[in-house]
Symmetry: C3
Subunit: 162 residues, 3 copies
């Protein structure tokens, strides 16, 4: 069996690492680092597979700048919601779909378990990240990260980033 | 620490990608592409860990040609079952176990969450794929894919491929 | 996009493989191989995120030599607990955090599903492995593996290694 293309393998490895680092920052409660995974002008959206398929703009969460993401973290810290639950992300292998407008397009499956302060665990969300990734000063950042949840029934207390 | 063997790493990367692409085709409801992941003469079987250990042939699903897999997709589309549920696969790192009869043997752990149309999610199946992978015209295909579910209690409505 | 650093990529690949092999040995019920993943002088501990953060030493399971790990396996085999349940580990991408005292430090997220003999499945544990990995005679081994469970509510029947 022939090997894989080294350039493609290197790119995939970096995007895998980016997705893993992103998840780890949230799961470790380092929310202040979360906006730094995005480009200054960015799009972050949480939506459902149904809404995404029907191109409905309404999402559960919407932000179109790094500043909005920072505001969201500030609000979360004030609400102290972060003390009541944590997440554990499991992230699959990204599928690199090509390049457009100077960004690499990738899709990555995920599963998130929520752990309540009481110790109760539940399967909180599954879905895929649909990303446009750019390189800025040697680091990869999300120009777009659309979080497409498989289920349309998302907890209305949705608080932490996915 | 020394690095890994580049040839082995390249092979592992390609098999990882194959497993991820396979899961994504199912999760994206591109079922018509599912038979194309198999060689023309192939074996696809879903069984339980108990039955697999006891070498019982009876499985939940059995197909020994790509044509049978295509028939299965046609039946699923007619039954419209695919509208009522979707899957989300999370796939672990394959263990490459060696080569035999021109195929690479690999085992890969998986977890599948089922998402019902209502939005309800449940942990549907866990287990491992036991695969024989061959290269045909530059693409990897499954000559064998035995889906060994950890639990013997599998939903009798089992419909989508695992 | 530039590729990843080949040396770092090789090291990450080997640690990923180690984590996958470790999980597979447990999930395949090859418990006798489990102590061999550790250095002779080692630390294995299962604790909760809360206890870990507060540096509380009390853990659910504690062993500080390979011999203690072997004793544990012997006890498990005598108790026949292994016949009543199996695990399925899903392991994420390790984050390699650097080197100290001749060992590589890495953190790896995990999720474990428990499958009872009856066929019932449940989400048993999530968390992260905090590892110190060393190379001995060409093989990677854990000098330390701290299993930090996200939930403090761990089944009191906790039996198999995580």
């Amino acid at each position: 069996m022939a090997g894989s293309d080294p350039a493609a393998a290197g790119r995939l490895a970096r995007i895998s690492q980016l997705c893993a680092d992103y998840a780890r920052a949230i799961d470790d409660d380092r929310l202040e680092e979360w906006p730094e995974f995005f480009a200054e002008e960015c799009l972050y959206k949480i939506t459902s597979a149904d809404n995404y398929r029907r191109r409905l703009e309404a999402g559960l969460v919407y932000a179109d700048s790094r500043g909005m993401l920072r505001d969201r973290v500030t609000a979360l810290r004030r609400a102290n919601i972060y003390e009541r639950q944590t997440y554990r992300h499991l992230v699959g292998l990204p599928a690199v779909l090509g390049e457009a407008d100077g960004a690499v397009r990738a899709e990555t499956p995920f599963l998130v378990v929520r752990i309540m302060r009481s110790g109760a665990m539940d399967l909180f969300a599954t879905g895929r990240y649909i990303d446009a990734v750019v390189e800025e000063a040697g680091a990869l950042r999300f120009r777009e990260r659309i979080v497409v949840c498989d289920s349309g029934r998302v907890d209305t207390l949705l608080a932490l980033p996915l």
